[in-house]
Symmetry: C2
């Protein structure tokens, strides 16, 4: 930590359109016209205004502008994810931000950590700032409180899972289909004792993925109930659950992990047990180095780009037409075959 001598300049009052008007020797309404590209301004006058703007370093105060304009729009939207540091969330955020910016909007972000209280607080803060709309990954049993925001004209879109107690535009992944494909892939390699590790069943995505697993397993004689473990919310819990699975007799010969945190714990467990090379494995969610693991990880990859773009699109379409019927979009997943899923069942 080093201190630099520094001379801070006196913080000046920012110039307003009145300052610009005075400088240009015009009425401030004329300045406003130029700034908003309204017609009926002589090119010459326009130039004078722009010159004054440049000289004073004027920058519009869009905060003041939005308070007065008829639509009350702020050109900003809010995005609430569980954890911004999670690759799923950050990649979603990036896409939403790009989409918004192309339309002149900025994005306010917040992490709820899966806590309904945090979520509601963030919604409140966003509302206070009068965002034009919000996209959220909802948490908890009830999002009906969002009706109030909506009455004020705020657009609401759910992504990753639907909100509860409220109807709204929603974008989700094809969770069940993705897991079903994983099951079929493993069955093709001769596996029948396929285990599943999932998060809390109260979470929409977890429930859908588990359902996909159960339904797909039914075609192959059904899943062994002891081979299904849910309620795993971090890598450590997944690690323990996986270790317990492989202590069973008969032990599973293949494993499906329900999300990326579970994957991390599960692979660690297989590593500890020294059975990474002979246990078939498919992970839901792609991971940055998945193809560099040995065996390379076969994954059900969510299309976060499509998810984010669809959510953003829904939001802006809702802003354009508040009366349109609500829509639910399901985004296909991509089954990425690498090698871990092709490890054959013993004796197959």
């Amino acid at each position: 930590m080093a201190a630099v001598p520094n001379p801070p300049e006196s913080p000046r009052r920012a110039p307003t359109i009145k300052d610009v008007a005075e400088r240009a020797g015009l009425g401030f309404k004329t300045v406003s016209r130029v700034l908003n590209d309204e017609p009926n301004v002589r090119p010459e006058t326009r130039d004078r205004v722009l010159a004054a703007v440049a000289e004073l370093g004027y920058r519009r105060n869009s905060i003041a502008s939005s308070i007065r304009r008829s639509d009350q729009r702020t050109s900003s939207i809010g995005l609430i994810v569980e954890d911004l540091a999670n690759p799923f969330a950050s990649s979603l955020t990036r896409v939403v931000q790009d989409y918004a910016r192309e339309r002149g909007h900025l994005v306010l972000v917040g992490s709820s950590d899966g806590d309904p209280g945090q979520e509601a607080e963030l919604v409140g803060e966003f509302g206070t700032r009068r965002v034009d709309g919000m996209i959220l990954v909802p948490n908890g049993p009830d999002q009906s409180y969002l009706e109030e925001e909506r009455r004020r004209g705020t657009a609401v879109v759910f992504v990753d899972r639907p909100g509860r107690g409220i109807e709204a535009d929603t974008v989700v992944s094809e969770n069940a289909a993705g897991v079903a494909e994983a099951v079929r892939h493993l069955a093709l390699a001769g596996h029948t004792r396929i285990a599943y590790l999932g998060d809390f069943e109260s979470i929409y995505t977890s429930a859908e993925r588990l359902q996909g697993f159960r339904d797909a397993m039914a075609a192959f004689g059904g899943a062994d109930p002891r081979h299904i473990r849910t309620g795993l919310h971090d890598p450590e819990q997944a690690h323990r659950a996986a270790a317990e699975l492989f202590a069973l007799d008969p032990a599973p010969t293949a494993l499906i992990a329900g999300n990326n945190l579970i994957t991390v714990g599960a692979v660690h467990a297989l590593q500890d047990l020294g059975i990474r090379d002979r246990t078939a494995f498919v992970a839901f969610d792609d991971l940055e180095l998945a193809d560099l693991l040995r065996p390379a990880l076969t994954v059900v990859a969510q299309d976060t780009a499509a998810l984010g773009e669809a959510a953003a699109r829904h939001l802006f379409e809702r802003l354009a037409d508040p009366a349109a019927p609500y829509r639910r979009t399901r985004v296909p997943v991509r089954f990425e075959v690498r090698s871990s899923g092709a490890i054959p069942a013993p004796g197959h």
Copy 2:
């Protein structure tokens, strides 16, 4: 994509303090007093106000509030990173967001993609929305344009690398020391032919890391210039450069990758060449599954949490005291020994 019947409710005008005042049978200034916890309000009156607030579902319009308040503060800050989807950036964002939120501030985010033009545009958008301050990972040869923002009272903090053409609070990693430690670690395993893959030398962090490499190598007889490759800006370029390195005679026996994108390309190259198990490797930047690779990746991990928190702290301290001397904070890196760095030199 499914359409839901839906009946949208008519968007109502949001209630204002005047509505609340009328409802409570009071002057609106009294309402304002209650909302701002100002003294001189009878508890009884206060209750009447709060009741009316609840009944009407009133929510303060902080946009209107900030336009009028004397300090002009909006309780929002801006954050500009290169790519929000990058783990380094997203983890930084998360920390900044948490720090800001604890202080009642919201965070506007933007990705510059390393383009100075995008960066300046985002700064402009943030300025227009009158953010209280901005934290940025600067790009390009000149950030002096930020002086203008600062004159308006906006706090400016650089993170990851210093801005150019302007003095400001800055937080950077101990880049050179981190690479030097990697070199010493590899030298201890008997390596002398250590290669280095880096990004453009025009990037501050790249230059610092390369310098750290050169200086540390000097203690071991110096680096072979052919074993240093820079200007690698994505995994593909790093992949090719690594392949070329190991086609040399004599080929390096150890490799240091200058950032996470380069690491991905380099490990792929080692994989293709079938020399992952016998080439010592140290990566700058940690990766999610680094410990599950085989060999597990030895890394120089940046402390993104400390980086983000220091940046946020600088920002809020600057807001509290605009006249304080500028500070530059250097955040130590963590050398994470796993196995890839301990692979011995041939015949050692």
